[in-house]
């Protein structure tokens, strides 16, 4: 640079560099110019740590609204919203009994934007639970769990459980009556394996339930130790776990070839719209050399650039749109309904009824028959069953299609009818006529543990789906039937637990009929 001319002094260099520093700084941040060509658009995606989870190009099938309904994104967006608002709430929240309650009152009344933040946090958490469940249903009904996506389905189960765990641990933090008694019940559900160990007479040396409860509460009552443990779980362990699982979940989507789509997707999509650029009009300049030395399928197999669009901006408009839509929903709910806060927790006066958050009320309904079966047994069976689905259903017809294509819908419809009918029937029987204990007062607990409305319902569903497997001669049909039934059972039990149960867990047609204390 300074060849023949008089070498500029280092001081001059310094002055020039200083002058140019702002421009150079900007150049190092925005390296590739505006994303107007395919190349710069691709660079935009993989040159950015936050965006490079995406492929540079996205298949047009994945961009259709009906493919995913954006439910996974809604879940992730709700997580981001709870994360941001949660961190802000931590500025004021004090995880100590009584002080916790006062700090929530302060957040509600005097912290700038505090009331709004708490409402958003609470509503985003609810939206997240709903979205995660619906997302799971979407993945199931479009057959998107099938090979090679089995493991990601299992990761999804983990995310579901972590999401529920986050909700549950957050429930205690306000330290009001609602929180205190819901957690007391929750902690005793953790203890419910004693129902079995007691019946077997081995509690003394194999007290699994007691250990679980003790680990959860750090004491034998819900007190300051329990609060600090729930706080730790809620703000640290579970969010970290969720973030880690989420990263794996996203990464696997890419590794498993993006979103599942039916075999004939390209034909059904038709030609691309005119204002988008058709790809591969030139011979590719690169070959996939690397593919030869890496085991397994490359990410590009079956996933070529035909019929794809640059992710920037096509995918990002959609993603940002869904994020803002989720925000909109949370904000609207927050302005409309305040997050609840009852009286200060009082260990001497139980709430009646003491209800868990709504998504656990289906379980609480089962718990009202048997603590162990409702709180541990059935959820475990459901989770194991859900996790097994992709390993049992190895068919590949109808992947990427809602309800596995035509013929699936009538089956689902029948399963809905059966699922709702069976749940309502069994519940009606138990509510009107009581259960075994009322009929045979001396019956051993072990019998009730294994024969109760919850287990009967689960068994009915299993029989129904086995019947469908035989009738349709398809494992997929059985899975569809079983999943639908369980979803319906979840809805029925949740609605009963939320709306139709009152003090002493008695049945009431409406909360207006509840007796007054």
């Amino acid at each position: 640079m300074s060849g023949q001319q008089r070498p500029s002094s280092a001081l001059q260099d310094f002055a020039r560099n200083l002058r140019q520093a702002p421009r150079r700084f900007l150049e190092t941040v925005f390296r590739h110019g505006p994303p107007r060509t395919d190349r710069t658009r691709s660079t935009f995606v993989f040159g950015n740590v936050f965006l490079h989870l995406h492929t540079a190009r996205t298949h047009r099938w994945s961009l259709r609204w009906t493919t995913t309904l954006g439910l996974g994104l809604v879940s992730a967006a709700a997580f981001v919203i709870t994360l941001v608002t949660g961190i802000l709430l931590m500025f004021y929240y004090k995880p100590y009994p009584d002080a916790a309650y006062q700090s929530i009152k302060d957040i509600h009344f005097v912290v700038p934007t505090g009331q709004f933040m708490r409402n958003i946090h609470r509503w985003a958490a609810n939206v997240m639970v709903v979205a995660v469940i619906l997302h799971m249903a979407r993945v199931f009904y479009t057959g998107a769990y099938r090979a090679p996506r089995e493991f990601n389905w299992v990761i999804g189960m983990g995310l579901l459980v972590t999401t529920l765990g986050l909700s549950f641990t957050g429930y205690l933090l306000p330290w009001d009556q609602l929180a205190y008694w819901a957690i007391t019940i929750g902690a005793n559900i953790a203890q419910s394996p004693r129902e079995i160990t007691d019946a077997l007479g081995i509690t003394e040396w194999a007290d699994v339930g007691g250990l679980q409860r003790q680990l959860l509460l750090g004491s034998d009552v819900v007190g300051e130790e329990a609060l600090i443990r729930f706080y730790l779980l809620h703000v640290m362990l579970l969010p970290l776990l969720l973030a880690a699982l989420l990263a794996v979940h996203f990464w696997r989507i890419r590794k498993d070839g993006g979103l599942a789509r039916p075999a004939g997707a390209d034909q059904r999509l038709g030609p691309p719209p005119g204002d988008t650029y058709p790809v591969f009009t030139e011979a590719p300049q690169k070959t996939y050399q690397l593919a030869a030395i890496v085991r397994g399928r490359t990410a590009a197999v079956g996933n070529g650039p035909e019929n794809t669009l640059p992710s920037m901006p096509h995918l990002f408009y959609a993603e940002l749109g869904v994020f803002m839509l989720t925000t909109l929903i949370c904000l609207a709910l927050s302005l409309w309904i305040d997050a609840p806060l009852k009286e200060l927790a009082n260990p001497n006066v139980p709430e009646n009824p003491a209800k868990a958050p709504w998504y656990f009320l289906g379980l609480q309904e089962c718990v009202s028959f048997s603590a162990f079966m409702g709180g541990v047994g059935i959820p475990l069976i459901v989770l194991v069953g859900l996790g097994l689905i992709p390993y049992l259903d190895r068919e590949d017809k109808g992947t990427g299609e809602w309800f596995g294509g035509p013929g699936g819908w009538p089956l689902v419809r029948r399963a809905v009818l059966f699922g709702l009918g069976a749940a309502i029937g069994v519940e009606a029987l138990a509510i009107r006529c009581g259960w075994l204990r009322e009929w045979f007062p001396d019956i051993p607990q072990l019998v009730i543990t294994f024969v109760n409305p919850g287990t009967i319902l689960a068994a009915l569903y299993a029989v129904f789906s086995l019947f469908e497997v035989r009738r349709r001669n398809s494992v997929r049909a059985g899975a569809l039937a079983l999943f639908t039934c369980f979803l319906c059972g979840f809805v029925v039990l949740t609605v009963i637990g939320t709306h139709f149960r009152g003090p002493n867990w008695d049945f009431f047609w409406s909360p207006a009929d509840w007796p007054k204390h």
């Binding site: 107007r36 060509t37 395919d38 190349r39 941001v84 802000l88 500025f91 004021y92 005097v110 912290v111 700038p112 934007t113 505090g114 709004f116 933040m117 719209p273 005119g274 204002d275 988008t276 650029y277 058709p278 790809v279 009009t281 030139e282 640059p310 901006p313 408009y317 940002l320 749109g321 803002m324 925000t327």
Partner: protein
Amino acid sequence: MTAEARAPRSRLDPEPVSRRDFLGLAALWAAASALGFALIGSLRLPRAAVLSSPSKKFRVTLPESLPAGQAFVPPGRAVALFRDAEGVYAVSLICTHLGCVVKSTPTGFECPCHGSRFGLDGTVAKGPAPQPLPWHKITGGAGDYVVDESANVPQGTRLKA
């Protein structure tokens, strides 16, 4: 979908996105302003609207036997009260340097943190303190006084005992 748009081009050419993509730009600006507004709102949160510290005004009863020039420090408060022939006055014990609580000695006040020294009337004698110790407003009488830590009076202002 003009014929021109369908003509094959190089992949390296810009996509024929209309330069006046009003919808896209409007959407992006709307999103940016919504997020910006949310950010401003969130940034307001950490600044507390009310402070949780107790009232700066407090009552104090001076012992009858307090000798002139000896400090009386009410428990839990960083204020020294004096009574002399001219009246009663209250000197702050918060060092004006970096807020340590100074110690009352027979000759004045010493800050344990960075060695500032103050005279009995609060004037800086030594060390890094930039300002004398302020005198607080004091009201009441006949042994019972109300000291207001949030209100200062000029040095030398005494309340007639």
